[in-house]
Symmetry: C2
Subunit: 428 residues, 2 copies
């Protein structure tokens, strides 16, 4: 018996897109699937019941954050993460690799693993491939990820100051060593995957949790090909594309994904980590990807940036002070559809007031809207695959047009969209 | 036609308690009723839909806060507060009097009214009885309150440092003048009520909004009697007891309420402002009070203090780190009852984790629980009135025993429980 099965139910005739179904010990989800991010065992500001109502069927949680607090043993004793966070459906945990590099006060990176200082109590914590798998066993997610070495795909020298600071945290050496560092990371990721797979195979849990490998290689086609070949040589129930969504533009994301996705086994789910905006998702689906996660719906929701089919709306903008429209007319989310016997939407004017008054209900309502926005997009993507209706999709979702990232009004977003500690708990 | 009708449907044979029904232009609510506080047009962290699910039928909003932001004219143009905050049921607004004294940077108190500096933009704002009524007309609540002069009922010299600081903000003169100040406030409150009633009568809105008068008088029986007689000489659809819940002990609250409630007209709803803990509510109901409001459920909820029938539970306490029980077994709130096909509670261990991680879901869940806790208490109180079942009520709610305020584990609560700006928007 395996922890995960994947069935493809429809294919596009004009591109590599496919629709399907992933079955896990905690239920099924349809693919392509968008996974909301519940970093610390909660999708910020959203009750699990309301999260399910947005159409989400699988959520992501972060091993790094849960390792630091409340700790994997406590969660294991509570019956695992499903019971702890009261989410009975499928869960995926990442390995902690990305966060250790980008967030931790990293002390030492060796072939054995990574040592870093806990931001909770200052203690030194070692995370190795084996330890990451052990922690993910304690958490008990349906899908667990290999512990990878993931430096930024973009050379830090090409980045602006903010992004360079983020990127340099990944780098063990001076910037000139970037290429050497990428090679090292690529090779180390494969060695670490072997150790993860070995640990997992020996655990007796392979029938309850599915381990996915992660293809790295940055923006370089040769490194990507090398990584895909070596990673996919290890027989696993699914494979991920890592190392994107860490600062590249949409064209770079699309290039890497178009190159890498076809190199992954056709009959296994392909998970593009940390992506992203609507047009990135559609491009990745057309390249053959099946699973996605991103903090954008909740992080932008807390920052008063609401997604619509024509671009983001910055609700703090004075233009909305007396705007009685919902965020998006026709949307069926709790913010746009309202409630009760004679439902009325929560207006942009009211939402703006909530954000200016720093009221929690603003982040809550806009997070719910944004989560539903992405689930509605995925619903339409799955329909487009079945009907090969890509131009109809583009008409219904102008925001997915090439060139658009939906920020006609640029939102305040940090450079990376991947789940990380910058997913701050500040409600506004 | 009047804006409000009140029907008494049951009376206790052993005390002054009565059960009834208040009808307003936006629907009915049963009494005794507990009104959650939605200071800035939102009960903090709670969707209106979920608020209704707790059993709340009427909510309070604060004129002072809405006057400052977003302003009454903007709300009027949105169709009034019901439409703005998406709460179709009955709403009560206070007059702003209490907040002007306790929160505003007060510049000048005269017989005409109060001038204070806006905390939003520093501008000087004048609030007079007429202006308070005009603002409440713009907001459009079903029940509006007279603008009163409300110094603390307790002599500042008898208070500890924190409470003294709060109280001194109410006082126009040195502490020795407390008695004179109370007399002045008592008399001014009556003069201001006459001006409020006159403004309201001339507005043409008396058939859509019901004005309540407020009896002041502090802790002194003579002042209370004087105030009740003068205030109730003005024919109004309801009367409130003000000037309690600003720092006194439960015995003092009970003494004032037992004295004052019988002085109010038998056939009008009696509203005890800003109270309070469970045993205060039961004592006030037994004295003949019908309506209550208090920030305790949401403010304590945000501070990880959960109400139970045996006292408050401080969820950050290390004792709950591995506690798999719900806040209160048998409770039907979203936190205790859970959700989905096989509902499980959100455990104390998980709630503690959420608060330690400063996750919004902690304040959300505990606020929902606390709101439901008070609605369940009121349900049982109404049943106790119909059945004269006071000892059964006390058995089901050990926390209402005389002497108990339900803080076996003392919560972090500021001295006053009245709706005010100390109802901070910090989610934790």
């Amino acid at each position: 018996m395996t922890a995960l099965s994947f069935e493809i139910t429809a294919r596009s005739a004009t591109c590599a897109a496919r629709a399907g179904r992933v079955a896990t010990p905690h239920g099924e989800f349809e693919t392509p699937a968008f996974m909301p991010v519940g970093t610390r065992g909660t999708v910020k500001g959203v009750l699990p019941r309301d999260l399910a109502d947005t159409g989400a069927r699988v959520v992501l949680a972060n091993t790094y954050h849960l390792l630091l607090r409340p700790g994997p043993d406590l969660i294991r004793r509570r019956g695992g993460l499903h019971a702890f966070m009261n989410w009975p459906g499928p869960i995926l945990t990442d390995s902690g690799g990305y966060q250790v590099y980008s967030l931790g006060d990293t002390c030492r990176i060796t072939d054995d693993g990574v040592a870093f200082k806990s931001v909770v109590d200052g203690s030194t914590i070692e995370l190795t491939p084996e330890r990451s798998i052990d922690v993910q066993h304690a958490l008990g997610a349906d899908i667990i990820m290999a512990f990878d070495d993931c430096p930024p795909s973009v050379d830090p020298r090409s980045l602006n100051a903010t992004r360079r600071r983020l990127a340099s945290a990944h780098s063990a050496g001076p910037e000139a060593d970037h290429a050497r560092r990428l090679d090292e990371a690529n090779e180390r990721t494969v060695r670490w995957l072997e150790r993860c797979a070995s640990r997992h195979a020996c655990s007796g849990l392979a029938d309850r949790q599915a381990l996915f490998g992660i293809v790295q290689g940055g923006l370089d086609p040769d490194r990507r090909r090398w990584s895909a070949q070596r990673v996919c040589a290890i027989d696993l129930p699914g494979y991920a594309i890592g190392g994107v969504a860490v600062g590249e533009g949409p064209d770079q994301i699309e290039r890497v994904v178009s190159l890498t996705a076809p190199l992954l086994p056709e009959d296994r789910p392909r998970y593009l980590m940390g992506v992203g905006y609507e047009r990135d998702l559609v491009a990745a689906v057309r390249a053959g990807c099946d699973m996605f996660d991103c903090v954008l719906p909740t992080r932008n929701g807390r920052n008063a940036n609401a997604f619509t089919r024509t671009g983001q709306v910055r609700l703090k903008n004075a233009a909305f002070a007396e705007d009685d429209r919902p965020i998006e007319p026709g949307c069926d989310c709790p913010a746009c559809a309202g409630w009760g016997d004679a439902p009325r939407p929560f207006t942009r004017a009211y939402l703006r007031h909530l954000f200016l008054a720093q009221e929690m209900l603003g982040p809550i309502l806009v997070s719910l809207h944004n989560l539903r926005h992405f689930q509605r997009l995925l619903l339409d993507i799955r329909a487009a695959i079945r009907e090969d209706g890509w131009s109809a999709l583009a008409r219904r979702w102008p925001v997915v047009d090439p060139g658009s990232r939906g920020d006609a009004e640029p939102p305040d977003t940090p450079p990376s969209n991947r789940a990380d500690a910058q997913e701050s708990s500040d409600p506004c």
